[in-house]
C-alpha cells in the first residue's frame, strides 16, 4: 500500500514576470549603454524566463555616480529615523509581495517553493525589519557615539540565496547611511529586479540603491570601480581571493563571505532521529548549494553504521522534482555549469575509492538535476572531503573521541560553520569552544536569524553579517 501525493503546484499567476528587464540606475530601469543583454532560464526545465540587460563598465560608472549623488545629496545626510521609515516600508512591502517573490525565486534558482516561501522570503523581510530598527540607534551599537557611514557600497552576491543575500547586503548598508550598487548573480537576477520595483514602490530616493545585472565581468568592474568605497562580496573562495587582490592597495573596505566545508558532528549519544533530520537539512537544503552546508558528516565510529543505515532510509523518502510543487524537497541544480562541477567531483570521489550511494530517483528529462548522494569510506585526503562541492553530496567520515572530532572538523582551510549533535550539554560547550567555525549549531542546523552574526574564519572569509556585528562593515570605524 503506498500513498502517492497528487501534484500540488504553486500558482504562477500574478508574479509580474516581464519579458525583459533593464538595469536599475538612479531610480529607473534603463537599457545597458552598449545594448548588451543575456537571458535567464528556469533550471528545472531550461525554459527562458526573461531577457536581462548586461551592465558594462560605463553602466557601472553611471550606477556608482548615481549612488554617490544620492549619498551626498540625500541619504548620507538624512535623519536616521527617516532612513528607518524607508526600511520598514521596504520590509512591509516584501511581506505583502511574499507569494510572488517566492515563486519568482523558485523559478529562477531551482530551489523548492517550500524553501523560498518558508525560509528565503520571510528572512529577507526580517533583515529589513531588523536593520530598520538600528538606523536611529547607532550610538548604542558599540562603535562610538556617532559612527558615520562609509559612502558607496559595491555589493556582489551569488545565486544560492538571491533575494535573501540581497537583503543581507542592502539592509545594513542602508540602515547605516550608505548607498548601494548591487550586482546579483548572472543566473538569478529576477528577484533582485523585482525588489527594485518594490524600492520604487517604497519611494526610495533615486540612486540610493542601484542594481546592475550581468556576469563575472560586471562584478569585476564594480569591485574595481574607483568610486566604490566599500566592497562586500559573497561567493566562491576562488573569486573572493581575486576580489581581495583587486582591492589591495586601495582605500576600499572589504568583507568576504566565501565557501565552506562544514562538519556536522554526530556523537554516539545524539538524539538520533533529530540528528538524521539535521544531517539531511545540512546537506540537502537548497540542494546543498549553501556556503554553510554540512557537507562532511563526522560520525562517532561506534554508531557510524546505524547512523548511515538510518540516513539512507530517510534519503529514500526525499521527494525530488518540480520546484514549484509544494511537496518537493529537492529542487533543480542552479545551472548546467554547476551540475557539471558536481558531477566531476562526485566522479573523483568514486575514483578515489569512496563508496557512492543515492536512493533510486527518477530525474526529469529536461533541466539540471542531481540525486541526493552520500559517500562512505571517505578519507580525509579525498577531494570530496576537502573541496566544496556546492551540491547534494555528503561525505561521511568517522571519529573515535571528542578530541579527534574537533581535530578533524578543524582540519580544513575553511571555517564557516559546524554542527554538534549530542544530548550532553557539557560536551556541546566543550566542542563548540574549540571549533574554528564562525557559526556553530548544536542539535540543529541551517538556522538563521537577522540578529545572529554570520561569517567565517580563514578561507571562508572575514566580516560578519547580521546582528550588531553586521553594522561594523558599513561604518567608518
Amino acid at each position: 500500500m503506498s500513498w502517492e501525493y497528487s501534484p500540488a503546484p504553486e500558482s504562477r499567476a500574478g508574479i509580474g514576470l516581464r519579458r525583459s528587464y533593464g538595469l536599475f540606475i538612479a531610480g529607473n530601469f534603463v537599457e545597458s549603454s552598449d545594448g548588451e543583454a543575456f537571458t535567464t532560464i528556469n533550471p528545472s526545465n531550461e525554459e527562458v524566463l526573461a531577457e536581462v540587460a548586461a551592465a558594462g563598465p560605463h553602466d557601472i560608472d553611471l550606477a556608482v555616480a548615481a549612488a554617490r549623488r544620492a549619498y551626498e545629496g540625500v541619504w548620507g545626510t538624512m535623519r536616521p529615523v527617516d532612513r528607518a521609515k524607508y526600511l520598514f516600508r521596504i520590509a512591509r512591502l516584501i511581506q505583502e509581495h511574499s507569494s510572488e517573490l517566492a515563486v519568482l525565486e523558485s523559478l529562477d534558482s531551482g530551489k523548492p517553493i517550500r524553501e523560498s516561501r518558508d525560509v528565503d522570503v520571510p528572512l529577507a523581510a526580517a533583515h529589513f525589519f531588523y536593520y530598520a530598527g538600528w538606523a536611529d540607534k547607532l550610538a548604542y551599537a558599540g562603535f562610538g557615539p556617532a559612527p558615520r557611514p562609509i559612502g558607496v557600497a559595491g555589493q556582489v552576491i551569488p545565486w544560492s540565496f538571491p533575494l535573501l543575500l540581497a537583503a543581507w547586503k542592502l539592509a545594513p548598508a542602508l540602515a547605516t547611511g550608505n548607498t548601494c550598487v548591487l550586482k546579483p548573480a548572472e543566473t538569478t537576477p529576477l528577484t533582485a529586479l523585482r525588489l527594485a520595483e518594490i524600492l520604487q514602490q517604497a519611494d526610495l530616493p533615486p540612486g540610493v540603491v542601484n542594481i546592475v545585472t550581468g556576469a563575472g565581468a560586471t562584478g569585476a568592474s564594480l569591485v574595481a570601480n574607483p568610486g566604490v568605497d566599500k566592497v562586500a562580496f559573497t561567493g566562491s573562495t576562488e573569486v573572493g581571493k581575486t576580489v581581495q587582490q583587486v582591492t589591495a592597495g586601495t582605500n576600499k573596505r572589504l568583507t568576504l563571505g566565501l565557501g565552506g566545508k562544514a562538519a556536522n558532528i554526530v556523537f554516539a549519544d545524539a538524539p538520533l532521529s533529530q540528528a538524521i533530520e539535521g544531517i539531511i537539512n545540512g546537506i540537502y537544503f537548497n540542494q546543498g548549494e549553501v556556503c554553510c552546508a554540512g557537507s562532511r558528516l563526522l560520525v562517532q565510529e561506534s554508531v557510524a553504521d546505524a547512523v548511515v543505515d538510518k540516513l539512507k532510509a530517510r534519503l529514500a523518502t526525499l521527494r525530488l522534482g518540480d520546484p514549484l510543487d509544494k511537496n518537493t524537497d529537492i529542487g533543480a541544480i542552479n545551472s548546467a555549469a554547476q551540475l557539471e562541477k558536481i558531477r566531476v567531483l562526485a566522479a573523483e570521489g568514486e575514483a578515489a575509492g569512496a563508496r557512492r550511494w543515492s536512493p533510486p530517483c527518477e530525474l526529469p528529462a529536461r533541466g539540471f538535476w542531481f540525486p541526493p548522494t552520500v559517500f562512505t569510506g571517505v578519507a580525509q585526503t579525498d577531494r570530496i572531503a576537502r573541496e566544496e562541492i556546492f551540491g547534494p553530496v555528503l561525505s561521511v567520515l568517522s571519529f573515535r573521541t571528542p578530541q579527534e572530532a574537533v581535530a578533524k572538523a578543524n582540519n580544513t582551510v575553511y571555517g564557516l560553520a559546524a554542527g554538534i549533535w549530542t544530548e550532553k550539554g557539557s560536551r556541546i560547550l566543550w566542542v563548540a569552544s574549540r571549533l574554528r567555525a564562525g557559526v556553530v549549531w548544536a542539535n540543529t542546523f541551517n538556522r538563521f536569524d537577522p540578529t545572529s552574526p554570520f561569517g567565517g574564519y580563514r578561507e571562508s572569509g572575514f566580516g560578519r553579517e547580521g546582528g550588531r556585528h553586521g553594522l561594523a562593515a558599513y561604518l567608518d570605524v
Partner: protein, 326 residues
C-alpha cells in the same frame, strides 16, 4: 540501542529471547529504557511542523479522507452515556454516509466497559469492532486486582478491542517493572482481543518519556500504543505522534511485529487527520496506512471527514445540519 537484527526472526515474529533478556529485571529494563536515544524537543517539533506543510490535494486527498474514516474509533466516554446513545453511535459507525455506500464504515466504536455489550449487540453483522476502555480509565488509579477485574469484565462482555491505561504514577516514580507487569497481565486477559495501551502522553510531558513508555508498552505486548485518554490536555499532538511512530518503526526493525499507533483527543478537523496520515506515511511508512496499524480516537472528527469528502466529490460544502449528530 541494542539491535536484535542478528537474532530476529522473519518479519512479524517476536524475538522473544532478546525481549526476555532485557525485561528480566527492573535494573536491566531501566538500563534499556535509559539507553534509548533521546529526543530533541526542538528538532521533533520542527519535523512535525515541516511535515504539516505537505499539500495533499485531489485524488490523494480523497484517498486520505476515506482512509481516515476507516481508521476512526468512534468514541463516547461520558458519565451520561446510555444504551440509547451507544446504539445511535453504532448505527452511525456502520454506515457513516447513507447517501454514499462508497464511504467505508469506521474501525470501531469505543465505550466504557458497562456498555460494551450494548455496542457489541448493535454492531452484529458489521465489520465494526466493539472496543472498551479498561483498567480504571481514565486515571488508572486503582489497585491492580480492581484494574484487572475491569479488563476481564470488558472481555467477558464481548469487547473485540480493549484500550487500557498505563499506571503513569508508577512510570514517573521509575517503577518500570510494575508498569510492564500490569501491561503483561492485561495482555494475558486480552489474549484473543486487540490490546491498545494508552500512555497518556500529556502526563508524561517529555518526548523522552513518550519514547520510553512506547517501548515499555510494546515490550509488554501491546498491539497498539495510544496517545491519550482524551480526558486531559494536552492530548494527541503531531510531535508526540511523530515520536510514537518512530518508536513503532524502530521496534519493527529491532524485534519484528508492526505495532499500531492510535491518536486520540482534540482531533476535530479533517485537515488535522490528513496531517496525521502524512506523519504516518513519512515517519513510520506506508505499511502503517491501514486500520490495523493506525487509528483516530474521535467523535466529531467523523462529520468533518464526511463533509470534506462530499466537498471533494461535488465541489461544494453542505451545511453541518446535513450530517447526523448522535
Amino acid at each position: 540501542m541494542a539491535r536484535a537484527t542478528s537474532t530476529a526472526g522473519p518479519a512479524g515474529t517476536i524475538d522473544a529471547a532478546w525481549v526476555a533478556q532485557l525485561t528480566r529485571s527492573e535494573s536491566s529494563l531501566r538500563r534499556f529504557l535509559a539507553g534509548l536515544p533521546g529526543v530533541d524537543q526542538v528538532g521533533a517539533e520542527a519535523r512535525a511542523a515541516s511535515l504539516a506543510t505537505r499539500s495533499i490535494k485531489a485524488a490523494s486527498k480523497i484517498w486520505a479522507i476515506k482512509t481516515a474514516i476507516s481508521m476512526v474509533d468512534l468514541t463516547t466516554l461520558e458519565g451520561s452515556d446510555t444504551p440509547g446513545k451507544v446504539a445511535a453511535l453504532c448505527h452511525k459507525a456502520r454506515q457513516p454516509d447513507p447517501d454514499d455506500p462508497g464511504v467505508p464504515s469506521v474501525a470501531a466504536v469505543c465505550v466504557y466497559p458497562d456498555l460494551v455489550a450494548t455496542a457489541k449487540h448493535e454492531l452484529v453483522g458489521s465489520p465494526v469492532a466493539a472496543a472498551s476502555v479498561a483498567t480504571a480509565f481514565p486515571s488508572g488509579r486503582a489497585s491492580i486486582p480492581v484494574k484487572l477485574a475491569d479488563a476481564r469484565d470488558a472481555v467477558d462482555h464481548g469487547a473485540d478491542e480493549v484500550d487500557m491505561v498505563i499506571d503513569r504514577g508508577a512510570f514517573l516514580a521509575g517503577r518500570f517493572g510494575l508498569v510492564l507487569e500490569e501491561i503483561r497481565s492485561v495482555r494475558e486477559i486480552c489474549r484473543s482481543v486487540r490490546l491498545k495501551v494508552i500512555l497518556e502522553t500529556g502526563e508524561l510531558v517529555t518526548y523522552d518519556n513518550v519514547r520510553r513508555a512506547s517501548w515499555l508498552a510494546m515490550l509488554g505486548g501491546a498491539d497498539f500504543i495510544k496517545t491519550s485518554t482524551g480526558k486531559i490536555t494536552p492530548s494527541a499532538t503531531p510531535p508526540v505522534a511523530l515520536v510514537m511512530l518512530e518508536a513503532v518503526r524502530d521496534f519493527a526493525e529491532a524485534v519484528g511485529p508492526e505495532i499500531g499507533v492510535k491518536v486520540a483527543g482534540g482531533i476535530r478537523a479533517a485537515k488535522d487527520a490528513i496531517r496525521y496520515l502524512v506523519l504516518v506515511n513519512e515517519a513510520a511508512g506506508p505499511r502503517w496506512l491501514d486500520p490495523a496499524h493506525f487509528r483516530f480516537g474521535a467523535s466529531s472528527l467523523l462529520n468533518d471527514l464526511l463533509m470534506q469528502h462530499r466537498k471533494q466529490l461535488t465541489g461544494a460544502y453542505v451545511g453541518p445540519d446535513d450530517y447526523s449528530i448522535e
